[in-house]
Amino acid sequence: MATGTNIDVNTLVDEHSDYLLSFAMSKLKDLDLAKDLVQDTFVSAITKLDTFQQRSKLRTWLTSILNRKIIDHWRKAETRYTDPVSSFFSQDRKQGHWLESQGNNKTLETIEDQITKEETNQELADCLDKLPEKWKGIVVSKYLEEKASEDICKEYDITTSNLWVIIHRAKLVLRDCLQTKWKL
């Protein structure tokens, strides 16, 4: 492992470990698991350092390795247990339930002026944690990584109509959560 010199390892960890951990935690809920996956990412990166092409940024390359590890983790979890997406779907939302509760609620934009950006971000982060983990990952792929729908579907092994339904349901969950937090 000639490439894995001490200097490389130290710089890798010092410069990128917190970023990678934060990226992993944007998609996962379990901090210990996230730390393990970051460590695995470094191990893979060091053994594959010769395949790294200088054209892309090192951080981008590391993030893509980490992202594959996260997806592999979900795939394994799904074959071991039940599919978290389909089991959430089968929970049978009561038809029309979400609308009936909407009677006198104010729209979210009415509170925007009273709430600071930081507050909104914090509340939003809390509410994102209410989503099933895989949905959280999909939301992050869409809004942070700005991936195209086809890429998201391929990565998460879902159909495009699944994707619309997940985005729709995720927004309903987020909206419910934000309304409760701000007592709308």
């Binding site: 934060s22 996230a34 460590q39 038809q95 979210l108 971000n121 939003l124």
Partner: protein
């Protein structure tokens, strides 16, 4: 195919329309439904607001999580083997 769609289907159609163009029929149904349904108009407004907030939140990734310095030392050691 039902003539009057439920609100849940209408709002789903709306989310789908953000990814791909709707058929003429779906588009007309969506527009007519929105004309008479306050709750779905409310949903649309909230959905757009959530979009804006999510985009703003994820403009960049904040480093909010950190390995402790001890963990970093252990991590470096394990990678040098």
């Amino acid at each position: 195919m039902e003539i009057v769609k439920r609100c849940e289907q209408i709002t789903l159609d709306y989310e789908r329309s953000r990814f791909q163009p709707l058929s003429v029929k779906d588009r007309v149904q969506l527009r007519m439904h929105l004309g008479i349904c306050k709750k779905c108009r409310h949903y649309l407004k909230d959905s757009q607001k959530i979009d804006v907030w999510l985009k703003r939140r994820f403009e960049r990734l904040d480093e909010t999580y950190h390995f402790s310095s001890d963990e970093k030392i252990t991590l470096k050691k394990s990678l040098k083997h």
